[in-house]
Symmetry: C2
Subunit: 252 residues, 2 copies
């Protein structure tokens, strides 16, 4: 059971809430996961990097949809106006000039077929279930929790700063062009998480609401962790790829 | 990519559809999963059996809800009347005298605390996501697919017949009383899957609908498989339990 399950029992100041949220990230964000550690240590095979890229594509492709459902649920024009930028970042001007297209470029630069990646047919079922859970969470939970589930972005500049130099240094076939997706992300993520954090601190005005915000961030950390668990299980040692999922030797 | 993705391209007879569905089970049902194999070989630790029981509890506890959503979506009184029996089987007369209560008994007989199991707080996030995906599938997909996703029950008498004698023989702390859940299941599952199979064969009248039925069964097999993958990863070797999930030494 999580140590954060009763974190807000007595009520926190807004800055006290922020301290707990940052503590959740320090303990549970997926930069602590062995698959990420292996990635930055240069220990992943090309097949494992391909598997990471094509599974993560499913997540990237769903992001604007979960952001749109948050938009659809908000009666606050200021929230909608701020949140809309996230959709623009991922879809770009024409749907294929934003973050999703750049992630697809990352995947194809690793040698994957664009149509296979876009079809998501090689993804692990566990990836699909996690991605679906994220969409459902944003569609069904109170709006404050849906907003708070985005707060993993508080920690994404850190993981990107670990990932990008290490990948460039340790995988000879990875170039700055491969990783173009990450170029704008730290700035976008900081802008977005500043907004979401301020929103959470302003609206979580009871211990119960504060706990719900903490729980939403724990949920999201668990989700990113589970996605790497599934990759580690399927590709970290031979013989574990579930039926129908990507096999490195099949890569086009 | 699955070999079943174009199985119904040219259209199948009802009995041809049944052949393909049984083939899906023969190739992808979770009795082929290493965790099940380890279970029936007597190779699971008590902690691994506890982890299996408490994670599977989340699935058992959701079954009547996914069956109720199917009921809620059906305009056919005969379907509803047949399907209602599933809810009765799991909830019993008072909510705690059916299959869920018996599964809870299985878990507590393995040494787990009933409240901890019922709270689901020790479950793997991957289990939650899979269980949520099953509910969402039954709520959102066409009714024929929701019905067809239950067709894993065609194969459950087989897995039960493998599991029960092996567990009684190979784990000295497991008794017939521990496994009382399974006593009625083969008969119930046969009754239910006979109905669902007949329904699918009757209503899947185009190649597209037949393919959707096959896909629904593949989805469900993938889901049961992913649940065992998550258990195998978390508990099959030390150091992989995700943050907040059950640790065998914590068991009450």
């Amino acid at each position: 059971m999580t140590e954060f399950s009763e974190a807000a029992k007595i009520g926190l100041s807004p800055s006290g809430l922020e301290v707990v949220l940052r503590q959740v990230g320090a303990e549970r964000y997926h930069n602590r996961h062995p698959y990420h550690q292996r990635m930055v240590n240069g220990d992943l095979t090309r097949g494992e990097l391909q598997a990471w890229a094509l599974n993560r594509y499913c997540y990237q492709a769903m992001i604007p949809r979960k952001d749109a459902i948050i938009l659809a649920r908000s009666e606050d024009p200021a929230l909608r106006a701020a949140w809309r930028l996230r959709i623009e970042d991922h879809d770009g001007e024409d749907g294929w000039s934003g973050g999703i297209a750049k992630w697809l470029h990352l995947a194809t630069s690793l040698g994957l077929d664009a149509d296979a990646v876009k079809s998501e047919r090689w993804a692990l079922p566990a990836t699909r279930f996690a991605v679906g859970a994220y969409y459902s969470f944003c569609a069904e939970r109170p709006l404050l929790q849906a907003v708070a589930s985005s707060l993993t972005e508080l920690f994404s500049p850190v993981i990107i700063s670990e990932r990008v130099p290490a990948m460039l240094a340790r995988y000879p076939y990875i170039t700055e062009d491969t990783l173009a997706y990450f170029r704008k992300r730290p700035e976008q993520a900081s802008r977005d998480s500043d907004f979401a954090l301020a929103y959470a601190k302003k609206h979580a005005v009871t211990p119960e609401l504060q706990q719900s915000v903490i729980d939403a961030l724990v949920f999201k950390c668990d989700l990113l962790w589970a996605m790497l668990d599934a990759l580690q299980h399927a590709y970290g040692e031979p013989g574990n790829v579930p039926p129908g999922a990507f096999c490195p030797e099949e890569a086009g």
